[in-house]
């Protein structure tokens, strides 16, 4: 093996231009997030939302969470947003785009947004100790396995979240069945 | 299915047209005299009265409004316009003329009642054809037979389109072959072969003339 290459490996997965990527992705996420709520056309909003989800997925990848990244891609951008689009395409977009966007509820919305923002700031200030300056960098290669271990347990032991995970899947199953029953006109 | 396909035997008796009046003799017999006469203004075969139990039945029922004739072995009723829906319905219900082959019209501009309207009927059970003719004046309407034979729908629309004869009670009487906004009914004798609706062509096709 080549020594130069070895050194590159030993340097430990130094990501390239990390801050640059972070700011681009974060900026993209925020900008497209704003676009989601400001576009008149629902399909444009949905597309902007996809961009948001993809940028957030990129941020996950930067946090060495490739599994979460892939799931974000697969489930949200690929699956859920597709269904969103599916529904939006069936809705009369023409009319919704002509309607006044900000109706009388906007002060309430603004208040809610401010409250949420305040909550975030409060949590950030109050719980600064919880957010270390540096991420605990997990080795990339074992991330997926660790998630699996947490969810399903390893070597015959129940995992930390096995019960919660199973309950969640059961809930989803109930929801699916409920949806099926509701769409069936005659039971 | 396969067995079905292979099984022979045609159910309707062939040559059924002979039943009312023998067709082949009728077709062959006048042929001989018609030929020599052909150069000298042929008279040809002439329509002859058509006699059959069917005719007797209708004649006793409707009397003078109905005339039954046969020409070259093909039978037809000439009926008064007022009898039209009844006689068609009777032909289908009582005499099994369940298949309306065709509905058409012929324009005779010199006549007082300008149009012949024809129903060309066929009976699967009897394997027999009959035509029903009636005369109507220009602008007069005629009862629709869509309720008798659903197939009459488009056929009547075509007659309306080509001749301008309206059918009362037709569910959707509008032009079928020509565009909706077209003026004129091309199969009338007064409609020239080169004639067209210039206005429609200019508006809809954006050209001076379709010729």
């Amino acid at each position: 093996m080549n020594p130069a290459m070895n050194s590159a490996v030993n340097a430990g997965m130094v990501p390239v231009a990390t801050p640059w990527f972070f700011y681009v992705l974060a900026g993209l996420a925020v900008a497209s997030g704003v676009a989601v709520i400001t576009r008149r056309n629902a399909v444009h909003s949905a597309l902007a939302l996809i961009v948001t989800l993809l940028s957030v997925a990129g941020l996950y990848l930067m946090l060495y969470a490739p599994f979460v990244f892939a799931v974000q891609l697969f489930v949200y951008a690929g699956g859920i947003m597709l269904l969103f689009l599916f529904v939006i395409m069936l809705v009369n977009v023409e009319r919704s785009s002509k309607e006044r966007r900000f109706n009388r509820m906007w002060p309430v919305g603004l208040a809610a947004a401010c409250a949420l923002m305040a909550l975030f700031v409060f949590a950030f200030v109050k719980g600064k100790a919880l957010f270390p300056d540096r991420m605990i960098s997990l080795p990339e290669s074992s991330n997926t396995e660790q998630i699996a271990g947490m969810l399903y347990g390893e070597a015959g032991r129940m995992g930390q979240y096995t019960f919660a995970f199973e309950i969640a899947s059961l809930l989803l199953l109930v929801a699916i069945l409920g949806a099926v029953i509701m769409t069936k006109k005659k039971i | 299915m396969a067995d079905e396909v292979k099984s022979p035997a045609p159910p309707p008796p062939p040559e059924g047209e002979k039943k009312p009046t023998a067709e082949k003799p009728a077709a062959a017999a006048p042929a001989a005299p018609a030929k020599p006469a052909a150069p000298a203004k042929p008279e040809g075969p002439v329509p002859m009265p058509w006699t059959s139990p069917l005719v007797e039945k209708y004649r006793s029922q409707y009397g003078s409004g109905l005339d039954a004739q046969t020409y070259l072995g093909q039978n037809y009723f000439s009926v008064d316009r007022s009898l039209i829906p009844d006689i068609l319905r009777l032909l289908r219900d009582d005499d099994q003329f369940d298949y309306c082959v065709d509905i058409t019209a012929v324009h005779y501009p010199k006549r007082e009642k300008q149009f012949d309207v024809l129903w060309n009927l066929y009976s699967y059970a009897r394997n027999e054809r009959v035509r029903v003719k009636t005369q109507i004046a220009d602008g007069a309407s005629i009862p629709s037979s869509v309720s008798i034979w659903p197939t009459a729908n488009w056929l009547e629309r075509e007659v309306y389109d080509m001749f301008g004869i309206t059918f009362d009670g037709h569910p959707d009487l509008k032009r079928i072959l020509l565009p909706d906004g077209w003026h004129g009914h091309p199969l009338r004798k007064d409609y020239g072969i080169l004639q067209q609706d210039q206005e429609w062509v200019q508006i809809n096709l954006g050209i001076e003339s379709g010729q």
Partner: protein, 430 residues
């Protein structure tokens, strides 16, 4: 720069693992070019093969036996007027083919053409592939909507419903293959594409033959689902020509249309690569664990050269059989030149195969190995490509409700039960 370039040569890691950005870029470039050329070749091959299925000749005019037809097509499409319907949503209409193309090509970053012949070996490789390829349908859906016309819209709706339905069965089939990777001493499987192939090597069996009918059934499920995923006959609902004129790309023309085609074919190659990787041993040559003698190594390393010799021979036959008429002179010269190029490549491969047969780690040997890997991978993928054409020539099109019924009521239960049985058998075997 130069050190970065030189340092990677001879490495047995992917550029991604070696953290070598320059070589990653080079690989990306090679793959992009290779896939584009493959799509063009596939285009020609499909037209020719389809034509011969249908007792006609296919393209014959542009170049000898229509060999230059894809190039002519590409030029025509590029020069064609690019029409955006007045009522269309301009921006979305413009971006839709890009989404499809991007998704189709992004997948290639993790496709392992060899143990180190991939851009990157992500440890979530297969998830990444499924995730990114599921983005491809967004392009179709959005294209159908942006055209603002009925046929494209129906095509888009059909395609989105179809993709969502078949992705489920496809994913479950993939999971059952991934389960098989965990049958090792450590007890943990892998999602890495390279890891999956290596697991097959370690277990000395292609996953298609593992737990005999189970692997095969999962493979068949995947093989059916991948046709549906790529919108190919008999599941080409989204562009059903006789029903929806051209489905989602009815309003597209010129370059934009060609991007859709490029994306479709690239996606076909990509899903075939997944199937090859997961079930057919990826880059491995036949019987790598049993026919291990150096003589066997040499024999198998001669295959690429022989293939090219074969192609050259076919071209030579074409030259010989061409009618002796001055009209064909240029074509004959062209085809002879093509044969010469193929022959030259074959000779080169032969030299490498013979020169690199010593098993020590010299560069020629590594190069020879690399060629072998890529050759067997591409060969397996090519079989799938041929199957795609074959299906198209043979079968009528399914109806939409039948397609959904098969997806949900047949494929899903089967793939689910295969998954469960595989898991049980896997535990029992341990």
């Amino acid at each position: 720069m130069l050190t970065q370039f030189m340092s990677y040569i001879g490495s047995n890691l992917t550029p991604g693992s070696a953290n070598n950005q320059l070589w990653a870029l080079i690989y990306v470039f090679i793959i992009f070019t290779g896939v584009s050329v493959a799509v063009m070749a596939m285009n020609w091959l499909e037209r020719k093969a389809l034509a011969h299925f249908q007792i006609r000749l296919g393209p014959m005019r542009v170049g000898p036996h229509g060999l230059l037809q894809p190039i002519a097509d590409a030029i025509k499409l590029m020069l064609k007027e690019d029409i955006i319907p007045a009522e269309a949503d301009q921006f979305v209409f413009w971006i839709a083919p890009m989404i499809g193309l991007l998704a189709a090509f992004a997948v290639y970053t993790v496709i392992p053409f060899g143990p180190s012949q991939a851009v990157s070996d992500m440890n979530i490789g297969i998830l990444f592939m499924l995730g990114v390829s599921s983005l491809g349908v967004l392009g179709i859906v959005v294209a159908g909507w942006a055209s603002n016309s009925h046929y494209p819209l129906i095509g888009a709706l059909r395609s989105s419903a179809q993709m969502v339905s078949y992705e489920v069965a496809m994913g479950l089939a993939v999971v059952s293959a991934i389960l098989m990777t965990s049958l090792n001493a450590k007890g943990t499987g892998t999602l890495s594409m390279i890891g999956i192939v290596q697991a097959q090597q370690d277990q000395a069996i292609w996953f298609i033959f593992k737990f005999f009918p189970l692997g095969l059934i999962a493979f068949i499920i995947f093989a059916i689902a991948m046709i549906a995923e790529t919108n190919r006959a008999p599941f080409d609902m989204a562009e059903a020509e006789s029903e929806l004129t051209a489905g989602y790309h009815t309003e597209y023309s010129g370059l934009r249309w060609s991007l859709f085609m490029l994306a479709e074919y690239a996606a076909m190659i990509a899903v075939s690569s997944i199937a090859v990787t997961l079930w057919l041993g990826g880059w491995m040559r036949p019987f790598p664990n049993f026919l291990q003698a150096p003589a066997w190594d040499l024999t198998f390393s001669l295959f690429p050269a022989l293939t090219f010799f074969g192609l050259a021979a076919i071209a030579v036959i074409g030259v010989v059989r061409m009618p002796a008429h001055s009209f064909f002179r240029i074509q004959r010269i062209g085809l002879a030149g093509f044969a010469a190029v193929l022959g030259f490549i074959a000779l080169l491969l032969l030299v490498i195969a013979v020169g690199g047969r010593s098993a020590d780690a010299n560069l020629a040997a590594r190069f020879n190995q690399g060629i072998g890997y890529v050759y067997w991978f591409v060969l397996k993928v090519a079989v799938f490509m041929y199957l795609f054409i074959w299906y198209r020539a043979t079968w009528p099109r399914y109806r939409f409700d039948q397609l959904m019924r098969i997806g949900w009521k047949v494929m899903l239960p089967i793939s689910l039960s295969v998954l469960i049985v595989t898991a049980i058998v896997g535990v029992l075997v341990k």
